[in-house]
């Protein structure tokens, strides 16, 4: 366990929530559930009105330089205006780019000069004392309080957990427990009353970060992942990143249309899972019906816990 990091995660107070692109325009239920869950945990959550992409997908394609991406991140973080020390992301990609930008402050003199002068030109400065955590890390720290707030226990739900490469490998030394054998999401699942099941391809990438011009590679990776998950017949698939969610959500729809599978297993983000356990409305508050894999909630394995209310 990364005790030093765990210690730094705030247990109360003000949070700056950066939602990122996909959790605003594709899976907005991730943003709403994150805000509701954090509020129930007693935090004051500030969400910037405008959401600017961190630029990571363009950087990974070789379009944006690191300096351009870090400056965009600086523009995003500048909205903390010295009032917010702790920035939370719901996405492994944003987590990776923001943490890289924060590390760059310490490491690279020449690069920081360019970034600072670009930010100054638009009236901002790069905030120096900001921490960036993934919301799943905070949930892990708060698991005791979370367990006290459970109103709809996930009893009997068997859950396949997927962590995601950009969290585990892009900043290995920042991973909450272990990049090779992470356990903290599985532990949150137990806290909520569910059972995390093991599956062969638990470590396999979801395929989403492949260049968008080679969709067949994304397809093959996600397909292998799904086939492995389906062997264990879980009720739910849990992710901590909207990008992984999209890959694992969409592939099932495609496989269904090829008649390779005949049912879909709902894929949910960790904030939505905790929202479910807190008894929030699966449609209006968690937006689960916006996922391809759980459009028809009453027919999905989630009905096990939903019908009891």
């Amino acid at each position: 366990m990364n005790v030093e990091k765990l210690k730094k995660i705030p247990e109360e107070g003000d949070l700056f929530l950066y939602p990122g692109c996909l959790s605003v325009n594709i899976y907005p239920g991730i943003e709403t559930s994150t805000i509701k869950v954090l509020s129930k945990l007693g935090y004051n959550v500030y969400v910037p009105e405008e959401v600017l992409c961190c630029g990571l997908p363009l950087f990974l394609a070789g379009i944006l330089s690191s300096n351009t991406m870090y400056t965009i991140v600086g523009r995003i973080l500048a909205e903390t205006q010295d009032r917010y020390e702790n920035v939370l992301t719901v996405c492994n990609g944003c987590y990776s780019s923001i943490n890289s930008a924060l590390e760059n402050i310490k490491n690279n003199g020449e690069s920081m000069k360019i970034i600072e002068s670009a930010l100054n030109a638009i009236g901002f400065t790069f905030p120096q004392n900001v921490n960036c955590f993934h919301v799943a890390e905070l949930f892990y720290k708060m698991r005791q309080k979370i367990s006290e707030l459970v109103e709809r226990p996930l009893d009997d739900l068997r859950i396949a957990v997927h962590y995601g490469c950009h969290y585990l490998y892009s900043h290995q030394n920042k991973v909450l427990d272990s990049s090779e054998h992470p356990k903290f999401l599985d532990e949150i699942v137990s806290t909520l009353g569910g059972t995390s099941i093991d599956y062969e391809e638990k470590d396999l990438c979801c395929g989403e970060p492949a260049l968008r011009s080679i969709r067949n590679l994304s397809f093959e990776l996600a397909r292998r992942k799904i086939l492995s998950i389906f062997e264990e017949e879980p009720d739910l698939i849990l992710v901590m990143c909207p990008s992984c969610l999209r890959a694992i959500d969409k592939i099932q729809f495609e496989m269904l249309s090829f008649e390779e599978i005949d049912v879909q297993i709902p894929v949910v983000h960790i904030s939505q899972l905790i929202g479910l356990a807190f008894g929030l409305d699966p449609r209006k508050e968690l937006g689960l019906n916006l996922h391809l894999s759980s459009r028809d909630l009453d027919q999905s394995p989630l009905r096990k816990i939903l019908s009891e209310r």
Partner: protein, 166 residues
């Protein structure tokens, strides 16, 4: 490619053991011709044309698995990113370039890389009180200034001149 590849190859020459841990842990290698060890091998042997012309550079997921498992800390993801940038500036992979430049257009309009795609999502956002829509002109101008001052503008111009830097 000259100067760039000189420095890249030096890094590889000094550190890569050709042990293959990278390819062994590469998720893309299981489903495609992606092969980070072979890429490093080509660079060591200065076979730049092999690197430019095959798909090794483009199949990578930049998932950092190789980086975590490399016993000698060779930063393959960074290597791939520099090769990608260089190839795009050289006018190679026009399809990738065009696709991602169209995404830059969405970024300039929305501030995000994806627009709202359905009425259902629009309605959910409205009912939940999520206000984030397209960015303001002010923020758009901020982005333009950032692009200008971090040399992205120059790069865009170079992208436009197809193949002129070869």
């Amino acid at each position: 490619m000259g100067e760039l590849n000189k420095s890249l190859s030096l890094e590889i020459l000094l550190k890569c053991l050709q042990c293959g841990s990278c390819t062994g842990s590469c998720p893309a290698a299981r489903f495609s011709q992606c092969n980070p060890r072979l890429l490093a091998y080509h660079l060591v042997r200065r076979k730049f044309d092999d690197v430019k012309n095959d798909n090794l550079v483009w199949l990578c997921l930049i998932c950092y698995s190789c980086n975590v498992r490399c016993p000698n800390n060779v930063d393959i993801p960074q290597l791939i990113l520099r090769l990608r940038e260089n190839a795009l500036l050289s006018g190679l992979k026009r399809d990738v370039l065009d696709l991602y430049l169209s995404i830059v257009d969405i970024l300039m309009e929305w501030g995000m890389l994806t627009p709202v795609l359905s009425e259902e999502i629009e309605m959910f956002k409205r009912q939940a009180g999520i206000k984030h829509g397209k960015i303001s002109d002010q923020t758009r101008n901020d982005l333009k200034t950032i692009f200008k001052l971090t040399s992205f503008h120059e790069k865009l111009k170079m992208f436009e001149k197809e193949g002129s830097l070869k």
